[in-house]
Amino acid sequence: MHAPGILSIVSTERLTEVTTEHQAIPFYRDERVLRWTAQIISAVVLIGLLVWIIVNFIQSANARGMALNFRFLNDPAGFPISDPVLPFDPSRTFGYAFLVGVVKTLLVAVTGIFFATILGTLIGLARMSSNWLLSRIALGYIEFHRNIPLLVLLFLWYFPVFAQFPSVEESITLAGPIYLNARGIFFTWPRLDSGGVIWLISIAIGIILAVIAWKVLEKRQLSTGRDTYYIYVSLAIVIIIPIIGWFVSGSSPLYLDIPVLDGFNYRGGLRLTPEFAALLIGLTMYTAAFIAEVVRAGIQSVSKGQTEAARAVGLRPFQVISLIVLPQALRVIIPPLISQYLNLTKNSSLALFIGYQEVFSVGKIAINQAGRAVPVFAMVMATYLLMSLFVSWILNWYNRRIQFVEK
């Protein structure tokens, strides 16, 4: 133990030392001066760099006669787009061609997200199955897709498979009927008949009534304690009303649009081009492997005690999942799931290599065609950035909501 007297003397000495030093602090050690200097230096360096880049850019743009404005958006595009989704021909403006590219990106992204979510959830559940064999199959699927580059998978799907379909005359016929040939995949597809609108309205009414019944009966059950069987009542409503609508609408509201061979091509049905099909399958299966891991991690994050406690207080298995496990698991699942959706959207730019023309491919054609590299490139980047911003906005909104629930 030190003598307290000595200690206090030492500390007062140090204290006086410090204060004298503080009074005489030189400017190069003053934190405020240092901060301002760093601020100014960093600003000068960064702005200098930007100016240098811009000056170089303007010089070389002038030297090469490159366009630096967006006036060309109103010029005719001058190139065709295969399977343009929207009506398109080369005489339409470039701005419209770009829009077609954006729509095609969104089309493949949305369909891909839809199927990848379903497939990924199924595989994630299979991975957690108590059945050893099923769980191993799921693991094999996941490891297969996670360790091979997406581009190699797309090449494997497109060049040896979808690009090798036979000519229209020798189409492969699958049950359905579904026809596979070099022009694409032709599905038999249900379409709305004349009376279809009535049926659609009846479906909407059924859903609305079912939701109302669910809410009202659930509330009554909670307040009175008597079982109102709200799940079964809602299910019955949502099934019965569309059936009534089906008969009211006349003969049949839907008809099957069967593709038929007409000359050199099939007509009718739903046609997917081989490029779209290969891209969709590749993206979906690849992303599903990652979604499966997200789903598994999310469900495993809910501790076993939660399930056991829920069973102990007498909840039914369905209620355990829907009221206890899922709400907690979704909180863990949703953020990484959304970033997987964004990855899928960004990965759809690989479509370029297998000839599906989305926004990046359309941009690339335009860049190669004329000296519009910089503005077109800015448009492509802005498109992807807008999608990213939109997604991160959703994520932030969701995270805020979750935090609110937590407190």
Partner: protein, 401 residues
């Protein structure tokens, strides 16, 4: 004796039949699942084995094995690649000896992989006795390095310096120096195959590391200019696909630089990959920085360190240790992403595959074989790396605290 016979023995491990009943047929539903799974596996395996052994024609792969490994690298200069690989093996072994658990997974996996390929008991055309011996030699070099590392126990700083020196030597070896007799210049236009894939991935991670550290600190900085710049840079790069960045560097990089500046194609790809990787690296490192408890900073301030010292000596070393697994994961995905450089016309592994297919009309029918081979190569390497990464995480005790 009779008493000892009656002692309670521990329960026997379940026999195979017991295990099958418990894991595969414990309910009706599970039994159906098992049978369906078995049927699926049977048909998949049958189709796969039949195809691999009887229907597939592996001639495009078997004819040009070197093309897939090193591209059109001058065939007289191949010893330079071999020597580079040997340097790598020795250093890998030494690092294993010095850093043990951190490197062990990688060294063992690499050695095991090489040994397995060298000892494949099947007379494959391109696995000549020389190739097998070379592979085994590298296994030997790893073990030699391990023994050296264990025996001499060099300081880890020296090993790190040795890695930097070795990297420079390897670059000089592969690239060559002008027109001399021993190592003439080999232009990067003839580089290709797996070599380029690996070089781009390694180069991308190594060069993106310092940029990533700067950006991570920049994003946490209290200087608004630095903070805004870092944030905008990171989010912009992360918001667009890698392919757009590569394309930008292939096409319009020169527009933003003084007129007359020229870049090697491979270098452009490397710059694009580095910039892309740096943004993700920055976010990984920032995650590590955020995990350092504020007490560390307060303690460092209390002992009178300035902010540079705090960041460099206190926060960064601890943060880096935390993010090593994330960086390994990033390396694996970068390794896969290097396939995109074919948009710049670089013949990395996938690009070589495409060139081989297009080189002769008979190979156009054999695309499945070529791409399947490439997929297999990627799968083995990437799986080996993620396996090693799991060993690393176990060695570091990540997730146990």
């Amino acid at each position: 004796m009779s008493v000892s016979n009656k002692t309670i023995s521990p329960p026997k491990p379940p026999g195979p039949i017991e295990w099958v009943r418990k894991n595969l047929f414990n309910s009706w539903f599970n039994a159906i699942l098992t049978i369906v799974s078995l049927v699926i596996i049977y048909f998949l395996l049958k189709a796969l084995i039949q195809w691999v052994l009887f229907f597939a024609d592996w001639s495009p792969v078997a004819k040009f094995p070197l093309l897939f490994m090193v591209g059109q690298y001058d065939r007289n200069e191949l010893w330079r690649i071999g020597l580079s690989a040997s340097i790598f093996s020795v250093l890998m072994g030494i690092s294993w000896g010095v850093w043990k658990g951190l490197i062990q997974g990688f060294a063992l996996t690499l050695g095991g992989l090489l040994a397995v390929v060298a000892l494949v008991p099947y007379p494959l055309d391109f696995l000549t006795i020389e190739v097998r011996l070379l592979l085994l030699m590298n296994v030997g070099l790893i073990l030699l390095g391990y023994w050296f590392g264990r025996a001499t126990k060099p300081r880890s700083n020296y090993v790190a310096i040795a890695w930097v020196v070795a990297a420079l030597i390897i670059v000089v070896l592969l690239l060559g120096l002008g027109n001399n007799r021993f190592i003439p210049h080999v232009p990067t236009t003839v580089w290709g195959g797996l070599m380029v894939t690996l070089l781009l991935a390694v180069g991308g991670i190594v060069f993106s590391f310092p940029i990533g550290v700067l950006l991570a600190f920049g994003r946490r900085s209290s200087l608004p200019v630095v903070k805004v710049f870092s944030t905008v840079f990171i989010e912009t790069i992360r918001g667009v696909p890698l392919i757009t960045i590569l394309f930008m560097f292939s096409l319009i990089l020169t527009v933003f630089l003084p007129s007359g500046s020229r870049f090697d194609r491979l270098l452009r790809a490397l710059i694009g990959i580095t910039i892309f990787s740096a943004a993700y690296m920055a976010e990984n490192i920032r995650g590590g920085l955020q995990a350092i408890p504020p007490g560390q900073v307060e303690a460092a301030k209390a002992v009178g360190m300035n902010s540079l010292q705090i960041n460099l000596l206190i926060i960064l070393p601890q943060a880096l240790r935390l993010v090593i697994p994330a960086i390994v994961g990033q390396f694996i995905s970068l390794f896969k992403d290097t396939t995109l450089v074919i948009i710049l016309g670089i013949n990395e592994l996938l690009g070589i595959g495409r060139s081989v297919i297009n080189s002769s009309p008979e190979f156009v029918q054999l695309q499945l074989e070529v791409y399947a081979f490439i997929a297999l190569l990627f799968w083995i390497i990437s799986y080996a790396m993620s396996y090693s990464a799991r060993q690393l995480e176990i060695a570091m005790g990540v997730g146990e605290r």
